[in-house]
Amino acid sequence: MIILQCLKLFYTFFKIGMVGFGGGYAMLSMIMTESLKYAVTIEQLADLNALDLLVPGPIAINAATYVGFLDSGFWGALAATIGVTIPSFIYVSLFAHLVARYQDSPLLKGFLAGVRPAAVGLIGVATVTIASGVLLTPGMSVSTLLSDPLGTLSLTAVAIFVAAAVANIRFKVSPILLVLLAGVVGAIFIV
């Protein structure tokens, strides 16, 4: 059973590695949307993003290890991490010469020009997925959002979300500082 689950993890993360364009956050978003198939909650995925700030190393490796570990323990973590790593070996060994030769080709540029905005869309999906999980009053679900927005949303959590987003996007306040502050504010105001 565990072997089967590890193979499944390997395959999911291998796929993500094979199309891992657009840098760490794009891959993280893919991992977040694909991980809902596994024994991982939305709250745990939000924690992952906070842990990423504290644990060094490539974001996608952190994410693969975390999701694999939560789903199937150590072997799951290993399977997911190897899965997301192997595509690099394949690309570097087999396609490096090809890509080097066609690096200035308009078609490759066109492909990448299509992939980059898609990465933005994926990060948008990850935002909605995570936000819809962590901004609600415990026990409520998104289904009542339109009929009873005030009862469904946790106002303090929404306030923290908006304040942190503005502070980081507009005023470049460091993410680590914001996450720590949010923890303090949450401990005081969220009952």
Binding site: D47, P106, G114, V125, A164
Partner: protein, 188 residues
Amino acid sequence: MQVDIKKLWALFATFFKAGTFTFAGGLAMLPLIEKDVVEKYKLMPREDFVEYATLAQTLPGIIAVNCASFVGRSTAGFIGMLVATLGAISSAFILMILATVLLQFVPQEGRMVGAFRGIRAASAAMILSAAFTLGRHNLKNALAIVIAAATFALVLFTSWSAPLAILLAGLTGLAYQWFKSTRTEQAA
């Protein structure tokens, strides 16, 4: 093939150091790696490294691992590729498992519940912020905006998987480029 232990050690040390002391992703690791590969261990000339680093960002996959694979492979073949990659990912792997285990020991009661909910809300905000940062640079024409919106809608509202959507987006960009270049050829 004679495998040079010294070179393998240099590869492992370089990428292990970069993987241990840089936060928030592979891109931040590149300058550190460059310094060690080019100046400290003299594994290759700077021009080669810069070309590999550029390719590492063009190819799909984890940038730091791509870079480790390129440098490792050109220095010591397949074994070099494995050793350099192992160096790049082992701290992240070990520390992340430790962090995940420790996190489960944090009591989820009383004030801690509120603290966690605050942290998660801010964490969601950081993802939104990443979308903004990347969007600012990459949503500069109508096609890009349409692709971003279509990807968003497809993955959020239908059963399309994220990897499939990103492939489709790449092919759309490629088709558009091809269409544009055949049209200019006809005009010429």
